[in-house]
Amino acid sequence: MTDLHTEALTLAGRDAYQALSVRRWIVLLVLVLGVCIALVGDLSTGPASYGLGEIVRTLVLPAEADAQMRVIVWSIRMPSALMGVVVGVALAIGGAQMQTILNNPLASPFTLGISAGASFGAALALAFGVALVPMAGDYIVAANAFVVAMATAFLIHLASLRRGASIQVIVLLGIALVFSFNTALAILQYFAAEQAVAAIVFWTMGSLTKATWPKLAITAIVVGLTLPVFLHRRWQLTALRLGEARAASFGIPVRRLRLETLILVSLLTAIPVAFVGTIGFIGLVGPHIARMMVGEDQRFLLPASALTGALIMSLSSILAKIAVPGAVLPIGIVTSAIGLPVFLYLILRSGREIW
């Protein structure tokens, strides 16, 4: 009798697991649909008012559209809208993995100072033409941002390896890094020329209007190269959330996995920030919303984070264009305005556990 009872209960467990998986696939499909709709919406909004039909016609039959329309849709709105999606994907995946490897719910490129580091690196180039990477050429700003962002990520990694480094210590270190870079940035701005200051301020606000097809291609390639690696390691990365001891007990080389993931995450977050400037909270909020919807199995969490990040970015891009008539707000302002309340909610939701 007991055996039959147990059998029935465990079968219910398998059934429930499979039902859960189906539900998660449906969530992913809905998110894909949402991103597609938001993307079309993003393409349809802008200072030049065109109807949805005209936009779709230009997208499907570009040769039949008039030249101005073609340029606006294909050379201005399309790279910007797609960049929004790709940056959203990159930042959200980067945030999700940063939270995973640091076992820290508040980890994200923005809260841990990686974005601030990128801003400082970019400002070095914008204010004084300092190139941290020789021969960077036209990409001097992006290259500088990338180098400082990577260095910041490694600093955080080193701190997280220290014995007894708690979640609070890492978050505090992140806050300290944000303040340090902001102070350094203020010093740079104080000594920089007026024109350079304006460029720095605009850069730090984050804007998709800087998007071009080549920048989009580079960002997409980085996402395209890193995402399969994460997906391939999905079981190992999920196991990290059980804690270092248990992950190690499964035979996972925890330190190596952390380090390799951090390198990829740094790449994934530094590249978009280098191209479009500081875009806050996507890397924090995207994964959290995804986690609430699909849990922490990386087979679902990764795509759900990516799609949530893309969706938030696309919706923010639309909002940035329609919030103030006749002007396009820097998207970083919009994402921060949306993300900050969510961030506060995450902190205040529970006294002890924030996952």
């Binding site: 055996d3 467990g13 999920t238 196991a239 059980l242 007990s249 499964f250 996952w355």
Partner: protein, 250 residues
């Protein structure tokens, strides 16, 4: 049959030597070996050395292994986790570290069997972070079982379990060894459990192997006084079963 032996195992944390020259005599598949000792005796460190997740001196030899990747399953003492995963998922996760890339039906069946073996099917859909300490220990145990190892290293798997669950878990451990031919090394604080269920006992003290042998041979008043600092003795009850009688702390 799997055979595990060690020669001169050692480990240090910084300048502190926490395990010194531990040479275990051969332990065979089909045996339950209880590893006992007072706090900070080096039990967890020994397990981590045996599981090859902690570097250090000496050598651990394993013979008669079918598949090196899944030969040993180790359950660490710390079972806290804040992951948003169901019990079913977290056991499946342990299984996927040693099985193929794709999720197969056999993986799901193996999880079911592990849950059934520990009579914890009713916990399958519970969220891991919302479980009690004892329930988490059962999940940790199931995570080991689902990997179908030849050697099981359990670091204090019963410390948070109630008496009924402790006895059930120990019965399961003994069955895994005696019926399935597994070698089980289990760190225990309850010396009575070691006395009742272990075929052999390794007594650690201050990072060294103090004694090794049968439970009755190791749990002598002299050994207990020297390592645990207690006045205790083993006596047979009216049913002829051995019990540990503790008189006082020294």
């Amino acid at each position: 049959m799997v055979v595990l032996s060690t020669h001169g195992l050692g480990a240090r944390f910084g300048s502190r030597q926490v395990l010194r020259d531990v040479t275990l005599p051969p332990c065979y598949g089909g045996e339950v070996v209880a590893v006992i000792g007072p706090n900070a005796a080096g039990k967890s460190t020994l397990f981590r050395r045996l599981a090859a997740i902690l570097p250090g001196a000496g050598e651990c030899r394993l013979e008669g292994v079918r598949d090196a990747d899944r030969a040993i399953a180790y359950m660490p003492q710390d079972q806290t986790a804040s992951a948003v995963l169901t019990v079913f998922e977290s056991i499946l996760l342990a299984r996927k570290q040693v099985s193929g890339w794709r999720l197969e039906r056999s993986d799901l069946v193996a999880v079911e069997q592990a849950l059934a073996a520990l009579d914890m099917g009713d916990l399958a859909n519970e969220i891991l972070s919302e479980l009690s300490g004892g329930q988490r220990q059962l999940v940790g145990f199931a995570q080991c079982l689902v990997r179908e190892p030849q050697v099981l290293l359990l670091d204090e798997p019963t410390s948070a379990l109630d008496m009924h669950r402790q006895l059930e878990a120990m019965r399961q451990v003994r069955s895994l060894a005696h019926d399935d031919g597994m070698l089980v090394l289990i760190a225990l604080h309850h010396l009575d459990l070691a006395l009742k269920f272990a075929d052999k006992v390794a007594l650690l003290s201050d990072g060294t192997l103090h004694d090794f042998g049968t439970a009755a041979g190791v749990l002598t008043p002299e050994n207990l006084a020297a390592t645990f600092r207690i006045r205790a003795r083993v006596e047979l009850c009216s049913q002829g079963k051995p019990h540990l009688i503790v008189d006082d702390a020294i």
